[in-house]
Subunit: 204 residues, 4 copies
């Protein structure tokens, strides 16, 4: 009696941990973290509970892994854009647009990120916030660099501008629809433009 081999309906070639992560991502995004049971996850992944606990320490770890994956990706790309040789204005614009695109391209991960962070245990919550803060700091540093260089206005606090931009990014998972009128690139261009405009025109 042959075991699961690549090609079988369940247990297709994909390794078990990745199957679990994919199932969890979809379910968390659809129903929320608290309302998704471990049983549902293992059924969707075609494995048993024992297998899940073999690879992940807890349900919370699964959620954390979704965060970590997206955060690693975005941090890496931010570092790339921020560290390039372009003028600060262009570096900020590119970074601001890129985070919009990657958020839309990973909208499930992103909506889990923004909705479910409060459902982690206090410790894990702290850890994730710290990782997120590191990302924000890098972004804000870029704004401040421009302000120090005299390219961006100081009429408005860098903090507030960054929060303005990230507020709209969090909000994407509420309103953005892949079948809507705007492509990810168009949205990214608009939002980056709004950010830059806020920093390059005189205040009231």
């Amino acid at each position: 009696m042959p075991q699961n081999t690549p090609g079988n309906p369940e247990g297709d070639g994909t390794p078990v941990p990745r199957r679990l992560l994919a199932a969890a991502t979809r379910l968390f995004a659809d129903q929320g973290y608290d309302r998704t049971s471990v049983q549902e996850i293992v059924e969707a992944a075609g494995v048993t509970k024992g297998a899940l606990y073999h690879y992940f320490g807890s349900k919370e770890d699964l959620l954390h892994e979704v965060y970590a994956r997206l955060l690693r990706l975005q941090q890496e790309r931010l570092d790339m854009y921020a560290g390039s040789q372009e003028p600060v204005e262009e570096r900020l614009r590119a970074a601001a647009a890129d985070v919009v695109v990657t958020t839309i391209e990973n909208l499930d991960d992103a909506s889990i990120f923004f909705r479910s962070i409060h459902q982690l245990s206090p410790e894990k919550n702290k850890q994730v916030r710290a990782e997120r803060r590191r990302y924000h700091e890098r972004f804000r540093a870029l704004v401040e660099e421009g302000q120090e260089a005299g390219v961006f206005t100081r009429d408005i606090p860098a903090d507030l501008v960054v929060d303005y931009h990230f507020g709209s990014i969090h909000h994407l998972s509420t309103w953005y629809r892949p079948d809507g009128p705007l492509t990810p690139q168009q949205v990214a261009t608009h939002l980056a433009d709004l950010l830059l405009r806020a920093l390059t025109h005189p205040g009231t």
Copy 2:
């Protein structure tokens, strides 16, 4: 005659339903809806479960009531500002600033609103979204009125601008701290300014 009199730690003069609503609001904001048990709520309010279910049909109703309270307040104020005699530019600025102030003044309610809406049953969720949409529509109508009057630019879709503004308002409960450097009014002025600037300057 040891009846409850005002001043008693439990059972102070406040009517039971209000005590329950207050306790629920605090706990939902602190821990999230799903992670707050009915037992915790009634203990915090100093009553029993039976009393809660005497006044509220379900835990979900309690959450809905928090929404409804804030939504009624903001809808009322939006209607007031939007319907005044000022030029459209000033009406939008006033409305945009006001929603920031009332959000900050009711930050618990607001953070519950933005975080917990996904934890409602599909029917209640639909209902709340419909009520919220009505609010958004009114706001967007103001933007479109300005665009038709030629006061606001059409370089950017009204939808996207409104979502940009509300994204930043949702985000307030993430970063705003009452003991931070900015007063609610200052934040409101900045954010309203950013919105108006996005609508009154030429695009890139």
Copy 3:
């Protein structure tokens, strides 16, 4: 502000205890005793819980009263038929047919009787069984009287014949439909006939 007077939609002339009993009867018959809440009863009767507990000691008392009402009626009629001057054969036939008719005419009460007796507390259950037994004894005495007189066969125990008959009466609430092909009288005639035939023909 006029109080409830005869003719008002709720609180029509019928006295409160009777209204409660009527509401309870209908609900118990429809849904069963355990699945009917006191709240439903008082709402159906158009009064409040306090009123119910003013007239009845408990929910169980309400159920007992339904029993008692039917039992009083049937006991009274049995005594009447059994004590008449007719030959024993005719007295049994009349009594056997009459209990069928009164059961069908009070089918709600009867189905409550047969279904819900086991849902009473042990004490009340004992009491009702004792009252019911008195009824059975009288019926059985009639059969035995006929057996002693040589009119009925002794091939079959009186007990068993009586239980046979009452088994079919209990069962009425399961299959009898007012809009079915048989009138109560027709069913009564058939069933009394079956009983008499069992007692007047030689066994196998």
Copy 4:
């Protein structure tokens, strides 16, 4: 190695699902379905609630399983008797007697069946009634077969005769006592005889 071994008061060799079913059957028969709590069942079975819900979807499923077990048994035996080569009179007599015997031999199951069917949810109730109806139909077909063959009288509707018989069978759990004067076989012979007599003698 203090594992559960056969003979231990709890956790004897019997598999958990069977232990649960046995405990539930006894308790439902003693106290009724609604008045038996899940807690009582699992305590009587020596397991925890979690184990019960591992094997059964709900308390209602447990009740349904009791029904199904008895119904399967009786349907099977009825089919056997009804399909034999004997004359229709003998086939009906054998089937009528057999259902009495199996009812007495499974008196707990049977009394649960007759008492608790109304306490099922509407859907389950419908399902069980349908299964029960199939059984009744087969039985009635036998009566009609005899009527068409001219062996049984047509003075009385087949329906009514069948209901008369099953009424007495339902009633068995009310009066039959294992320590009483009659063996199951004797009761069965009497009741089958009554049924046949009703069908083979001329009406009044």
